[in-house]
C-alpha cells in the first residue's frame, strides 16, 4: 500500500494523478450532496461533481495525443452545468416561496 501511494507522488505527473484527484473531488461532492440540509448546498455539491467529471475529460484529452474531444466535452459540461444551475436555482426560489425554507427536511411532503 505504501508503495502504491509513494510511487505516483514522486513520479512525474501522469494521467493517474488527475484521475485520482478528480475521484476525490467527486467523492467530496457526493458527500455534500448526500449530507447537506440546504438545497443550495446540495447544488454546490452537484457542481463539484460536474467539475470533477470535466477535469477528467480534459486530462484524458491532454494525454491522448491529437484529439481534442475531451476539451469539447469539458466545454459542454460547463455550459450544461450553467443551464442546470439556472433552472435548479429557479426551482429553489420557487420552493422557498412556497415553503419559506430551503431546508430539504422541511420540504419532504412527497415522502411515503
Amino acid at each position: 500500500m505504501t508503495a502504491l501511494l509513494a510511487a505516483p507522488a514522486l513520479a512525474s505527473i501522469g494521467l493517474g494523478h488527475f484521475l485520482v484527484l478528480s475521484a476525490v473531488m467527486f467523492a467530496l461532492g457526493l458527500i455534500t450532496a448526500a449530507t447537506r440540509r440546504s438545497a443550495v448546498a446540495i447544488l454546490m455539491g452537484v457542481e463539484l461533481i460536474l467539475n470533477a467529471a470535466a477535469l477528467n475529460f480534459v486530462a484524458f484529452s491532454h494525454y491522448s495525443h491529437g484529439t481534442i474531444t475531451g476539451q469539447v466535452f469539458a466545454v459542454f459540461v460547463v455550459v450544461l452545468a450553467a443551464a442546470e444551475a439556472t433552472v435548479a436555482l429557479a426551482i429553489v426560489l420557487a420552493v422557498f416561496r412556497g415553503f419559506r425554507s430551503v431546508d430539504v427536511t422541511d420540504v419532504g411532503t412527497l415522502k411515503g
Partner: protein, 192 residues
Amino acid sequence: MPGVETFVFYGLAALILAGAGGVAFSRNILHAAFLLLLTLSGTAGLYFFLGADFVGVAQILIYVGGILVLLLFAVLLTNRIGDVRMSNRNVGYLTAVPVVLLVAAFLTTAMALGNWARSEAVAAPTTARLGDAFLREFLLPFELVSLVLLMALVGAMVVARRAVRDRGDASEGALPAEAVSGPASLGTGGTP
C-alpha cells in the same frame, strides 16, 4: 528532484481539495460558497496546466463568474441576511459515509491502478481547434446545447415567476420581486 510541474500540480490539487472539503464540511454556507470559488479557480488552473486554455477561460468566465455568483445570490436570498450561519450537517452520515467511502475507494483504486497511456500533447492554442470541432464533428451536440440553453432560460423564467398574475409582468431573470422589499418591479407602475 521532481520538476516544477509536480509542485504546481500538487499546489493546485491542494487548493481544490481544500475548497471541496470546505464545501462538504463547512458549517457556514457562505463560507462554503466562497470555498467553492476556490475550488473552481483551482480547477481552472489545472486546465491551464493541461494546456486547455479555452476551457480554462470558459471555466473562469462561466463557472466562477456566472454560476458561483448565482449561487451566492441564492444563498443570500434564501437566508436571512443577518443570520448567515445556517447549514448544519445532516444526520444521514450513518448511511452516506459508508456508501461514499466505498465508491471513493473503488474509484481511486481503479484510477490509481490503471495503466494509463502517456502521450503528452503539445502545448498549443486550442481555440481554433475547438471551434473547428464544434462546427464539424460536434455540430449536432453544439446545436442541441444551444437549444438546451434556450430551454433552461425559458424554464427558469417560468419556474421562478411569481404565481399571481395581477402583480404585473415578471421581470426578466430569476429574481422574484417579493424578495426586494420596496417598490414594484420595473416596467409598469401598474397595480400593486
